[in-house]
């Protein structure tokens, strides 16, 4: 289910469609590929209208979450499939196809694997073959549907770095779909955040993180705490204390303030905006993460670098150093 939306993808760009499941990101990708038809609207490739074109005529490369390699064909035959499927007049000579398959096998670092079958490869290797197969037809745009979704964490990380490298080397316009924020933020030139069929925001990873367009984007891009606040005189106040957060122009009265864990800091009660007791405190990837329960039983996560460890039950005050209010 998609609502009206317009997304402009620039040539040579790597753009991530990010959204929770059911947000319509895969549908959008399939409509771009011509695998699904939109009820209305248009798909433009450059200045060419592709809306009426069949999937075969769109010259897209599509990579599926579960690889969709041809089981009964060798790796080399899989990669060569798109070239062999062409009409005789457009089909490159056998030697040329072989050369191109060899180049692509080098590119995906699977030289010497040409004679193997998909069943003899690991998940990561299969997805690399699927990518080579899509690149072989020199598509106008490369579309990847949750390309790393079926792989385990370590392989995912390696493969996404590798995909970025390939993109930088080939300059291939690429759209990929993911529900993983880290993946989208690490990999993309720009991120398009979708929710329930609506395009919430498009921007560079920095833009969407620093200036999320809506509470939905804010919440989807990472942990956040929702705090009752008051907008007054262009400032946002929490429990009568001023915060560094500016209120949107013209907003006065009660608002919701969204705060990231690293925008909260442990503080003396007299300087604090919030208070509670420590529930747990642990170290994660070089940061101290402290979970605080406030009087209403809400859990507030704080990320702090001072390394002080607090015993559970210790009363603490929290200071708000930043956050977002949406109009």
């Amino acid at each position: 289910m998609l609502h009206d939306l317009s997304l402009d993808v620039r040539a040579g760009e790597l753009i991530g469609l990010l959204g929770p499941s059911g947000s319509g990101k895969t549908t959008l990708l399939r409509i771009i590929a011509g695998l699904d038809a939109p009820d209305r609207g248009r798909i433009l490739f450059g200045d060419d209208d592709a809306t009426g074109l069949a999937v075969q005529e769109r010259a897209v490369g599509f990579v599926f979450q579960h690889y969709a390699l041809f089981k009964h064909m060798s790796v080399a035959d899989n990669i060569a499939y798109g070239l062999n499927a062409r009409r005789r007049a457009d089909r490159p000579a056998k030697a040329e196809i072989k050369r191109r398959v060899g180049d692509l096998l080098d590119l995906i670092r699977l030289s010497g694997f040409g004679d193997r079958y998909p069943s003899q490869l690991s998940g990561g290797q299969r997805q690399r073959v699927a990518l080579a197969r899509a690149l072989a037809v020199e598509p106008r745009v490369l579309l990847l549907d949750e390309p790393f979704g079926a792989l385990d964490a370590q392989v995912r990380k390696d493969l996404r770095r590798w995909l970025r490298e390939i993109h930088d080397r080939t300059g291939q316009t690429t759209i990929f779909v993911t529900h993983d924020q880290d993946e989208a933020l690490e990999l993309s030139d720009r991120v398009a955040v979708l929710d329930r069929g609506r395009l919430e925001q498009v921007g560079t990873p920095d833009e969407v993180q620093e200036n999320p367009a809506s509470a939905t984007v804010m919440k989807f891009l990472g942990d956040s705490v929702e705090v009752e606040a008051i907008a007054e005189g262009g400032r946002v106040l929490v429990r009568g204390r001023e915060t560094p957060v500016a209120a949107p122009a013209g907003t006065i009265g009660p608002v919701k303030l969204y705060v990231r864990p690293w925008q909260l800091q442990l503080a003396e009660p007299e300087a604090a905006h919030l208070s509670g007791t420590v529930r747990s405190s642990y170290r994660t990837q070089g940061r101290q993460r402290i979970e605080v329960v406030d009087a209403e039983g809400r859990v507030l996560a704080v990320e702090d670098f001072d390394g002080v460890r607090y015993a559970a039950g210790h009363p603490v005050g929290l200071r708000i150093n930043g956050g977002h209010v949406f109009g």
Partner: protein, 293 residues
């Protein structure tokens, strides 16, 4: 929480899995099954060959020197050669449509495909008598145009097609549903035409399932008695298939010839069984439901 893991809840292991039976029960059950198979399946099969050769090899071969026997064999092969390819095409089309598309009336179509399995073969034959017989729906029209369907090859083919048409579709529908459409979609995005994708992707993926179903379809097409009997008219040398020829010989107390010709069908059954087992053993993963031995 902790109670769940307390020793009282650990299943007693020394008696083996709860679903397994004692040795005596197992022996009795297996014994019953084997005895039943021997009595009702293996013994009759032997009886066919014993009867066929009861008067020696010469008498056995005499049964095939009969021109009527040859015409029955020819007719059976002709019918199978028409009915099986027809059902392959139909089965492929139906299973493709059912497995890869969503449309209204899909479950009705699936039910209809199963119809021949639930209808008595005699009724299947009678349907065609009601449609094409001289008193039937299209009877007078056919007579006026000089078209002979009943008591001729077309009628026998129709009845055979009707009886055998679930075989291919029934095997391929679950197989294709299991395989989904991702590979076909991949082929299309790579520029393949629908036909090219079917030939290079779909067909290779279902080849063993297809062969499996063709074997069963063929065995049934050649061995069908009831439906064919109704529409054939039993004209010797003209509209008798092998099963009908066997019946005629048997009714004439020509037991050796009857069993000799019947042994052809028995051999066909054995060959089918062996090939089917080979397919199940070798390509279990590529048949519907991952059949295995």
């Amino acid at each position: 929480m902790s109670e769940i893991f307390s020793p009282a809840f650990v299943p007693a292991t020394k008696q083996g899995p709860v679903a397994s039976e004692g040795a005596a029960t197992r022996t009795i059950l297996i014994g019953i099954a084997v005895a039943f198979l021997a009595l009702f399946l293996v013994l009759p099969l032997f009886a066919v060959f014993i009867q066929a050769f009861s008067k020696g090899l010469g008498a056995f071969l005499d049964a095939f020197r009969e021109p009527d026997a040859w015409s029955a064999i020819r007719l059976t092969l002709t019918v199978a050669a028409i009915a099986v390819p027809f059902n392959v095409v139909f089965g492929l089309a139906a299973s493709w449509a059912i497995a890869k598309f969503e449309f209204r009336g899909k479950s009705l179509l699936i039910t209809l495909i199963d119809l021949p399995f639930s209808v008595s073969p005699v009724v299947s034959g009678l349907i065609y008598v009601l449609l094409f017989g001289s008193q039937g729906l299209f009877g007078s029209w056919l007579i006026n145009h000089g078209i002979q369907i009943l008591f001729a090859l077309p009628g026998i083919v129709l009845a055979t097609v009707f009886v055998t048409f679930p075989f291919v579709a029934r095997e391929l529908i679950p197989l294709m549903q299991e395989q989904g459409t991702a590979e076909e979609e991949a082929a299309l995005t790579l520029g393949a035409s629908g036909l090219h994708a079917f030939r290079t992707v779909t067909l290779p993926n279902i080849r063993w399932g297809l062969l499996y179903s063709v074997l069963l379809c063929n065995a049934r097409a050649m061995g069908e008695f009831g439906a064919v009997s109704v529409v054939s008219g039993h004209i010797r040398g003209l509209t008798n298939t092998i099963p009908l020829h066997v019946e005629i010989l048997y009714n004439e107390y020509n037991f050796v010839a009857a069993f000799a010709v019947a042994s052809l069908l028995a051999v066909l059954a054995l060959i089918t069984l062996v090939l089917k087992s080979v397919l199940e053993w070798r390509f279990a993963g590529e048949l519907a439901g991952g059949r295995s031995h």
